[in-house]
Symmetry: C3
Subunit: 357 residues, 3 copies
Amino acid sequence: MKDSQFYTLGALADLIGARLRGDPSCLISGIGSLRGAKAGEISFLSNAEYRKDSPSLYRRDLALTKASAVILSSAEAPLCPVHLLVSENPRLSLAKAAKIFEKKESLIPGIHKSALIGEGCEIPDSVSIGANVVLGNRVILGENVVVAPGCIIGHDCVLGNNTTLMARVTLYDNVQMGKHCLIYSGAVIGGDGFGFAHQEGSWIRLPHLGSVVMGDQVEIGANTTIDRGFLEDTLLGDGVVIDNLVQVGHNVSIGAGTAIAGCVAIAGSAVIGKFCLVGGGSRIAGHVEIVDHVHLSGASMVTHSLRVPGVYGGFPAKPVDLWRKNIARFQNLDDMARRLRALENRVLNNARLVEDE
Amino acid sequence: MKDSQFYTLGALADLIGARLRGDPSCLISGIGSLRGAKAGEISFLSNAEYRKDSPSLYRRDLALTKASAVILSSAEAPLCPVHLLVSENPRLSLAKAAKIFEKKESLIPGIHKSALIGEGCEIPDSVSIGANVVLGNRVILGENVVVAPGCIIGHDCVLGNNTTLMARVTLYDNVQMGKHCLIYSGAVIGGDGFGFAHQEGSWIRLPHLGSVVMGDQVEIGANTTIDRGFLEDTLLGDGVVIDNLVQVGHNVSIGAGTAIAGCVAIAGSAVIGKFCLVGGGSRIAGHVEIVDHVHLSGASMVTHSLRVPGVYGGFPAKPVDLWRKNIARFQNLDDMARRLRALENRVLNNARLVEDE
Amino acid sequence: MKDSQFYTLGALADLIGARLRGDPSCLISGIGSLRGAKAGEISFLSNAEYRKDSPSLYRRDLALTKASAVILSSAEAPLCPVHLLVSENPRLSLAKAAKIFEKKESLIPGIHKSALIGEGCEIPDSVSIGANVVLGNRVILGENVVVAPGCIIGHDCVLGNNTTLMARVTLYDNVQMGKHCLIYSGAVIGGDGFGFAHQEGSWIRLPHLGSVVMGDQVEIGANTTIDRGFLEDTLLGDGVVIDNLVQVGHNVSIGAGTAIAGCVAIAGSAVIGKFCLVGGGSRIAGHVEIVDHVHLSGASMVTHSLRVPGVYGGFPAKPVDLWRKNIARFQNLDDMARRLRALENRVLNNARLVEDE
């Protein structure tokens, strides 16, 4: 573990890309939330964190914070009672600050004696391979690759420079990963897709000859599963980030920069564009196409292709304003049904009265 | 494996906290369902198991059971044709009876020779550490802790007395667990949360400096994932029980005694109160607050804070009576739409007739 | 890896059970999609793959393919511009062709030196046991069983002939598997079900004395979890196939030939019939019964027993035509509500006018 280190606010401002308004010699040794930070720590103001609360709440937290300085945007600067770290991208400055104060054991490169390495692998000296790792044949690892304990890597896999597999990741044969990728524990990449032929009442699985190919800076969450393609590859573009417990079916293609939150299910051959956001717990049917810049709110169900960028939600997924209007009306559906019946009775009775006249 | 053991009904009644009405010398060697139990075994009557069936069904099963005795409440006693074990808490008596007849290999304390132990760990003699376990540095294990084969435990983790990790659990650095906790295989505890900053079109993950802190008697199901907090900790109170394949996001707080069924997704910073029940497949949005004693029916979607105890259901989650009424009307929505159109035509035609007169 | 092998079309036709219309001496060395195949490869036409697209699309892809031959049904034969492999079951022929061109390392039978084998196990010479595998006591393995690296198998498990556990599968004690089963990485079979008694505000887990029993040709996807039964067994019939990240609760019974897609949650004691199809992301409540030949569309929520074969969908699951009609009307619910209000105003005003007269 790194010992606590001290930084002056002046130095910190430079490191995190912020402008300091306050005392550059103030010493900082950590980072905390507005409510949790102590003197000698910095904090941050993130509207996102307060989205669900009243706006007055974060003003109060800001007014009462014991942090020595706060990272914020220039718009929020006037509210701040302590030293300011004004950033055009406060969240990025925050990420940099958190990185500075993160305490991680440094890894020593090398291959643990319990690791099993197949034939014909390429493993630079800068690589770290942990205990009980099993590598297949002809695996190619880039510079500074980290394979944490318990990972199992199939034959012919390729991991680009600076890619990290955390403990207990499984790659099937021939998975191709770019640079700076990060896979969390329990993820299973490259299993066969769920595709079958029928033979006399039995399911015969289609052997999957494609693989999983991902670009650079792809991140995949814990216990997520990504199936290999049938004849072509399952594709994850550069900078795709996927949360925990997500299922990505065979032959799915996900465009660069798309973020997929937890517990999403993506059925086979779905095509998702670039810079999409998929809310947690959403389902995407097989063979649909979603264009670039689509945002799906949580627990959406996509049953048809979405061909226009925008925000969608609901079951089935529709433009989110339409979904919200309709789901609001749904809360009164019982009332609507009663009123419709009453109206029918009235009109029918009127009609009878008219006929009776 | 334990050999089959015999207990007299009299002894069993004492062991499981029930009053015997019947022959105390009757010998019992096992336990089974009403339909499956044989002579010499005990069984039980649980309304819960028959909830979805007609009430006549369990009466028939009870009447026909071959069990030598049945655990039940005093209310159900008159129906029972065999020896009775009357309990004020039949389900608890059942749990105790099942424990008595469970056949488990006894574990021998000690550290398997293939296990890898980091520096500065505290490991009492009563601990059992299985094959291929990897422990980081400064891990502290309480008395009688069990770490089954294939577990990987990060640096600075703490496990309280009598806590068990089943095979192939992963703990990231600094996870804190209380006493008598139980984690099933494949669970991943303490991975970074899904929080990012944007930089020129790329996602930059926020380093997560918080951890996961759980109280005593916490149980976590197979392949469940629980993310560490960003600056503060993800919190699971005493007695929280979580089923399989659940996702708990960063900075979530779950109050004591809350039970969460399978395949639930809880987004970041959600706060769930004490003694809540969350039905299987539910989704809980980020940053919402749910007060104590909220019950969510299966596949609920919580989009807003629930500030009043009670039973909720649906998408979005509403008081379950309201949800049930509305979803019942939904089954006739097509009919309603037709009737509305017909009524419009009639009223419009009437109006025209009136105007034409 | 197998070297590329060449087959004549004539030989291939025999191997995959198709009738050749074209040149039997044409040499084939691989298989690809209509768009991806090169000369010297075969391809296939699958309506399923084109379901979501316009029918004209696959005609165009077929017309433009560079494949040397295409597997298709006799109905589609007239459209094909290249050699034909006409099959009565094109998908089965495709599966056989993919198998022929699959390049897999052959496994060498034997027990890896790092594997740990319990006492009293039965392991034929034809078995392959990989690195770091841990077998409990009295495990019985059939002929040609494969246990890939990192698997952990509890005491008293039985695996039938030709069954394969891929890397990092966990079986708890006493799981019984038939012949020709296939389990993907990260699956956890036989953990205790999520059943508890209450004792003074604490949850006491019911010890689960049943197990998981599966027939022949069962396939289970990556990171799927299947809980053991409480007193009786959780049952998977012959030929049941289950995708990734599925939760199967305690005492569930799934009939022969049923297929369950990814991210499905099946609560305890549900009974699912034979030859059912369960769409991805569906939820099935506890204790419900679903008869044979029920098809559930994706993201269905089954809250009550389904006693008639057919296609169901929605929340709660209803006959899919009814669900589709109603969900279509739902898209106009806001409009309906406005029209109902307008009609009320009109009728009410008319009534007032009449009263005023």
